[in-house]
């Protein structure tokens, strides 16, 4: 079922990519079908005891199987990803105008994201997790850059890709270290790890989570990503994709939670983001940016709670995860509706919306109350549990986490109050465009779900409790609809009161546009890296073919030196057959002659002579395939020489004695490296070559008599695939070089291009 659902996403993606133009806005409704199926599947699985497991071993012999495991936590994430996905697709149908030509592409990318996100939360193998993690980064980049004509949009898309993509690299490195330390590649098998490499790995994984979940100081891409259409902001950048980092921290918690560095770094990211995000939400004047900064703050809260890792904190975190997806999704959709109808999101230009958009206002107040943590909403329960979890801790940790959670809650109330007053409060009436059918429904449903969750807390408690128990590995407490007259309820009341006062005070402040320092610094560091890369590239890729060759040969020679000691004279045989001596002499004399030939044609002939003699050696050793290929390559290269000589002078340009001596020394070095390598290899045979096994395998499995070819096409087919892809890349490179040189069309550049192309043409050898 898991594989079927993912494949159905992919299949609908293909259909939309092909027929999207014809379907237009209807693509969005077609795209809603696979997430709806996933939601239904998720609902039917709720409360099931056994996790659903799927395993696809797609390449034998490598530990790269796609393994999925949908347990209680992944089940909740499925409902968030696919359930909110359906709501967003329906909403997007109303959000975009029917005339928008790019709807097919948009729906395809959004559905691809949905599939990638499902794959991510379902993954049990860390490698599947990594692949889907990167897919969400790429699709997010495409969706942020949807309006690709605007320079600001492109800058924001690049920022998002660079930060989350860089985090992906950290994730890969971290996962390699962690899986080595734990000796397991399945998340469900990862046990507590120890050791220095595990610490480094844990730090890298936490950094990756922080980039994806927009934690300070990697947060700047998230407010920037608000240039995307609102359905994207609501779906990717509040409900799902930014949760990927949180999910990673959650599922890696059992293995890495015992490392002090993991917890310390998680708390540092989380608490810094709680406060800086909330401050951002209090400063900005674009309603969508207020929500985005609020998301940074809420994600910080989630990272903090998951990093603490106690059963109570994990329970609070899962509850908050669910509550946040509902209320933040609803608020984003409402802001998008306001944007479509009022034509602005600037809070200074909005006024009187409470009267003109009563449904939206009602839904926003519900969702806002959940965000602020006021009863009777799911957000209240989550925040109560979080405060109780913080009060449960002991020692300095209690103070740090308590400070973060309670201080963060105060600021959350403050920016919620400011948001609601600023958007729906009194002011000159904003003129509105007529409403669109599909727009209000999804936000009302999401906001109402917060109330329903509070009403049916028993059901929510079962699901959340089970997920938290799976993550923390211990029995967890319960969510309480009304905690009674406890300390945390008192704290909550104080938080609400102070937060409301702060929010009122801030919303009275005169309007001032805040500077976006984070984005500027992030862009500056990206530009700096690009400039540094250009400088290094200009130094290393200077375009001088001789220097390239010298560098390559010298490095190869250096690489051979460690094996010098392994060469043993006992294993070296002078010849097996006398004919070999003759052929070796032919090869050597051709090579030496090559160094002294003055004309290019002569050099080409000498090269060919050496090549043909080598082919003859292959024949003596009984390798007709190699000999055949070698001869054919030689023949083709001759034609290449003939073509290239048309552009070049008849003789080599520099033929001084020193020039020749240097080159012969380099060539000798290369030859010595090969001799050392082969000598060392023949002195240390590891078992006998499996020729007989290969022959049997070739006849039985590959069904062929020619072992060489069966090895190429079947036994080591993956290697051949890689090789021909290299060949295809070379072809592309040659074409690109030829186009570049024909563009400049000067004699010199044509010569350089030919020389490079000759080099590339000899690659098949």
């Amino acid at each position: 079922m898991i594989g079927g659902l993912l494949l159905s996403h992919a299949a609908v993606c293909l259909v939309l990519a092909a027929a999207g133009r014809r379907l237009g806005r209807g693509s969005l409704l077609v795209a809603a079908v696979p997430p709806a199926a996933a939601t239904v599947w998720g609902v039917t699985r709720l409360g099931g005891e056994e996790p659903a497991v799927a395993h696809v071993s797609w390449v034998d012999g490598l530990d790269l199987a796609m393994t999925f495991r949908v347990d209680a936590f992944a089940g909740i994430m499925t409902l968030i990803v696919s359930g909110i996905g359906v709501a967003v697709f329906v909403y997007a149908f109303g959000y975009f105008s029917a005339a928008d030509p790019a709807m097919g592409r948009f729906a395809t990318t959004l559905l691809a994201f949905s599939a990638a996100m499902l794959g991510l939360v379902w993954s049990d193998s860390v490698w599947s997790l990594f692949v889907f993690w990167e897919l969400t980064s790429v699709t997010s980049f495409l969706l942020v850059g949807h309006k690709s004509t605007d320079a600001g949009v492109l800058a924001a898309a690049r920022r998002a890709l660079m930060v989350t993509g860089g985090g992906g690299l950290a994730l890969l490195a971290g996962l390699l270290l962690v899986t080595r330390a734990a000796d397991a590649t399945l998340l469900s098998d990862l046990g507590p790890v120890q050791g220095a490499s595990a610490v480094v790995g844990a730090v890298l994984v936490m950094v990756a989570a922080a980039t994806k979940s927009a934690q300070v100081p990697f947060h700047a891409w998230l407010p920037g990503a608000m240039v995307a259409p609102t359905p994207v902001s609501a779906y990717l950048h509040s409900a799902t994709m930014v949760k990927a980092g949180v999910v990673l921290v959650a599922v890696a918690g059992p293995a890495l939670g015992s490392l002090a560095a993991w917890k310390a770094l998680g708390l540092a990211f989380g608490i810094a983001s709680i406060f800086w995000g909330a401050v951002g939400a209090l400063r900005h004047r674009d309603a969508k940016l207020i929500l985005a900064w609020g998301t940074v703050s809420q994600l910080g809260m989630l990272i903090t709670l998951f990093s603490v890792g106690t059963a109570h904190a994990v329970l609070a975190a899962v509850a908050l995860l669910v509550a946040h997806a509902l209320f933040k999704g609803a608020l984003f959709l409402i802001v998008g509706e306001i944007d479509v109808r009022a034509g602005t999101r600037n809070i200074d230009e909005l006024g009187g919306l409470a009267r003109s958009m009563p449904i939206a206002c009602f839904a926003a107040v519900l969702a806002g109350m959940s965000m602020a943590g006021a009863p009777p909403l799911l957000g209240f329960v989550a925040k109560e549990t979080a405060i109780a979890a913080a009060l449960d801790l002991e020692g300095p940790e209690a103070w740090i986490v308590g400070f973060g959670v309670i201080g963060g809650s105060v600021l959350t109330v403050a920016y919620t109050v400011r948001f609601l007053i600023a958007v729906f409060g009194a002011g000159p009436q904003t003129p509105l465009a007529p409403g669109r059918g599909a727009l209000p429904a999804p936000s009302v449903i999401l906001a109402a779900a917060g109330v329903a969750g509070y009403g049916a807390l028993g059901v929510v408690d079962d699901l959340v409790g089970e997920a938290a128990a799976r993550l923390s590995g211990a029995a967890v407490g319960h969510l309480h609809r009304w905690p009674g007259l406890t300390l945390e309820l008192g704290v909550s009341a104080v938080v609400l009161a102070i937060g409301a006062l702060v929010g009122l005070a801030v919303s009275r402040r005169p309007p001032r546009m805040p500077a976006d320092l984070g984005a500027r610094w992030t862009d500056a560091s990206i530009d700096g890296s690009v400039a540094f890369g250009r400088t290094v590239c200009a130094r290393v890729q200077h375009g001088s073919l001789p220097v390239y060759l010298v560098t390559m040969t010298s490095v190869a020679a250096l690489a051979a030196t460690p094996f010098l000691a392994d060469v043993s004279v006992d294993h070296l045989v002078v010849w097996h057959r006398p004919l070999q001596v003759l052929l070796a002499a032919a090869v050597i004399s051709a090579a030496v002659a090559l160094c002294f030939v003055g004309t290019r044609l002569g050099a080409g002939l000498a090269l060919g002579g050496a090549g043909i003699a080598v082919a003859a050696i292959f024949v003596i050793h009984g390798a007709p395939d190699l000999a055949l290929t070698q001869l054919l390559v030689e023949a083709t290269i001759v034609v290449g020489f003939v073509l290239a000589f048309g552009h070049l002078s008849r003789s080599f340009p520099l033929t001084g004695a020193r020039w020749r001596a240097v080159r012969m020394a380099i060539a000798g070095l290369g030859g010595a490296a090969v001799v050392i390598g082969l000598g060392a290899a023949s002195a240390n045979p590891s078992g006998s070559p499996p020729v007989a096994e290969m022959a049997t395998a070739a006849a039985n499995e590959g069904g062929g008599g020619n072992i060489v070819n069966v090895i190429l096409t079947d036994i080591r087919g993956l290697d051949t695939l890689g090789e021909v892809l290299v060949l295809a890349t070379v072809a592309l490179g040659v074409v690109a070089l030829a186009r570049a040189s024909s563009g400049t069309a000067s004699e010199q550049s044509a010569g350089t291009a030919s020389e490079r192309a000759t080099d590339a043409a000899s690659e098949p050898a």
């Binding site: 797609w58 003939v642 073509l643 000589f645 069904g703 079947d714 993956l718 295809a728 074409v735 043409a761």
Partner: protein, 147 residues
Amino acid sequence: MTDGAASMIRLGIRAASPFAVIVGCYLLFAGHNNPGGGFAAGLVFGAVLALRTVAGFYRPTYGITLVAAGVFVVAGVALMPLLWGGVLFDQQVVSLEVPLLGTIKTGSALPFDLGVAAIVVGTVIAALDGLGAAEFAADPQAPAEQQ
């Protein structure tokens, strides 16, 4: 090079091409049990095209198209078994009774070899273009005079 020598060479290339193509086809199909295979076949076809280009008969321009088609075929052969639950590069062997030729045993290695050959030929054509094959099509004698 005199005109006579050049026309002899052109005649030789023209006469040899069909046989070379037959040899290439043989290598392509023989590869499974005898020396040959997609790589060798691709090189033979590539050499034929290169010679004909140098002689000024023909100037192929579809190098990158061939490379792309080859990559598709090769990747398709690699991924196809996954569809019916096999692993990457699961070999399928098919035996056919063909009149006159008798039993022919072939399999997914054949399309794989075809793809490899297409990539090799495409690369050779791309290299020819990169080396300025366009001039030869315009005037086959020109490069000889330049030298």
